[in-house]
Subunit: 361 residues, 2 copies
């Protein structure tokens, strides 16, 4: 049954007061929604500062109509609204979502900003799949209203109201009218039914932008800007591999060739934490050590864990990494098998040459 | 009849001693071909310097087995081989190709590096279409062996042997074995039959990278790196519009979502003359004056003329610019109607919002 929005409170609870959870409060409040912003136990300093009028990550105050909550007050916040946005990092998603569900007195309408592949009950799953399993258990036989959000939405830029396009992948019973009521002139929203395609794009663009960063790290010091042919080759190959993964996941290839895929991946390839992580690796840092160092500094390169889980997950949905996803294999060899980046990238190019001219039959 | 390569001389003449014509000599000679490199009348200084061991644009010597020719010796050079590459800028293509054909004693195998849309006998055409008309007239009832080359091939990088992927779109009678004989470990070659799709991609990526540059010019000074959501939105929209153009031109949409399209466009969006031209426009330079200034300095932003011709050409193949290609229209309004860049970009975003939620019916 399609969601009836007539009786919905004009109030939204956002879970996660890091970059993304906090940034989404700007278009939501500009559209007249009140927002309860709930920090996790890792966000206490952010909530404290935000209550005093300054969000330390976004480097400005939150807008009027945003009320900040510590994690201990999460049950009050989530039961005070009909709509919940989840904006935590993928690493914490299952744990946080479980606690939110435990706290809920009744069903809600859910929007997921978190990207990624997660481990749930010893299975590797898309985060939406894990969430559905939890929701079905908590609210058996009830409608599940759900959207998975994608597109090139760097949080700081959204909070600055730089024009930011986004795509909401909707469960079939979702109200499009509700979704479009989040849209503003600086945050145009488009919709799709392809949850799998959007989720694959969001997760794997973080993975593949590590490859762009590795290329930057390998060549920027000696080649200045003169290695973009290779960057472009890797960018293109990543798009093709993401489209294969989307299809194998039951999604639509064309979703990857639109704002959730190439749009988001473009933004991640010219800036962002995963590209930067890759650059460090290309410069010769140890892949595990530099991930941990960034993590400790609060800069989580989500593509690292997504690569580790993703390479197993793609096999579970019927792909063969060696044959179908040579760039993903190259990345895994560099990041988790500690192979030399330059050798691996050159090997990738040589193997593509052979594939392209039928020398690998 | 498929090209018989057994009797072909292992010698190639390249027309145009600018960036691209000169750069292609590196993989060709590395594959054992002798190369006659012919400068046009604009390349006299380059030829003079190259004969003395230093190519002034590539900033190094050409490889052994490259012989340099002035334009006056073009007839000797082109009749001394069986294979001709054309690497001049699109502005000069028709004129140069006509003179080459006039000089030929017999038919050859042709490879076109030139990108773009041209004017030929008062018609706007893809450069390959114009070339075919000339070839049919010169060699009536003979086989025409042809390839249109695309992909992210920045010439300087190719000459430095940075790994560079390329795609050759072949006439049905071309020898794939010949084409793959140009491939090296740093220049992997892939093939397609979609000449229209590759040519549209090559020409329009120059046009659309002006939009990326305009965005850079508008926001880089005040926003540092924090406007990439918008860049990504424009990048994505450009890909979608190029795929529509490719289809209307009789090509295949998927060609745009591969190395000739998103690959080449990615490289053009992170660097290159057309992006730089757009950046000047975004910074407030007059679009016509700054094009001319760059032109006078030897930096030709080919996307400028391709936009001027292209906007008429897309209508001639059945597209409606206003409805089908809103970003192309935005670019035209800025570059040729002198509308304010920031206003036009914001208007584009607002209009996309309306399209996406059915407010424009």
């Amino acid at each position: 049954m399609v969601l009836d929005i007539n009786n919905l409170k004009k109030k939204i609870t956002v879970i996660g007061a890091g970059y993304m959870g906090s940034a989404i409060t700007y278009p939501l409040t500009d559209n007249g929604f009140e927002v309860n912003l709930v920090g996790t136990w890792l966000d206490n300093e952010i909530i404290k500062s935000s209550k005093n009028g300054y969000h330390p990550k976004l480097k400005k105050p939150l807008q009027d109509k945003v009320s900040c909550y510590y994690w201990e007050d999460m049950p009050e916040a989530v039961n005070d609204c009909d709509i919940i946005f989840i904006g935590v990092l993928s690493e914490g998603f299952v744990n946080v979502f479980k606690q939110v569900l435990d706290a809920l007195n009744d069903n809600k309408v859910f929007f997921k900003l978190t990207k990624g592949i997660v481990t749930f009950e010893n299975q590797i799953l898309r985060a939406t799949q894990a969430a559905y399993k939890m929701l079905v258990k908590k609210f058996p036989k009830q409608e599940i209203y759900w959207a998975t959000i994608g597109g090139p939405v760097k949080a700081f830029e959204l909070s600055e109201k730089i024009p930011t396009a986004t795509i909401y992948a909707l469960s079939e019973n979702m109200s499009t009218k509700l979704v479009f009521s989040f849209s503003t002139d600086y945050y145009p929203v488009t919709i799709t039914g392809d949850i799998a395609g959007v989720e694959v794009s969001s997760a794997f663009k973080n993975v593949y932008s590590i490859a762009i960063g590795i290329c930057d790290g390998l060549f920027k010091p000696t080649r200045e800007g003169n290695y973009h042919n290779l960057n472009a080759f890797l960018f293109n190959q990543a798009c093709l591999e993401m489209s294969k993964i989307a299809k194998a996941a039951g999604g639509i290839q064309q979703t990857v060739f639109d704002i959730a895929g190439i749009g988001d991946f473009y933004a991640a390839s010219i800036s962002g934490r995963n590209r930067r992580y890759g650059e460090y690796v290309g410069l010769g840092e140890k892949p595990d050590k530099i991930y941990q160092k960034m993590f400790d500094e609060g800069e989580v390169a989500e593509g690292y864990k997504a690569l580790e889980l993703g390479i197993k997950w793609v096999e579970s949905i019927g792909l063969n990494v060696k044959n179908d996803l040579p760039l993903l294999e190259t990345l895994y060899n560099i990041v988790f098998k500690f192979q030399k980046p330059l050798e691996q990238i050159n090997l990738f190019v040589r193997n593509m040459k052979k594939r392209w001219q039928g020398l690998k039959i």
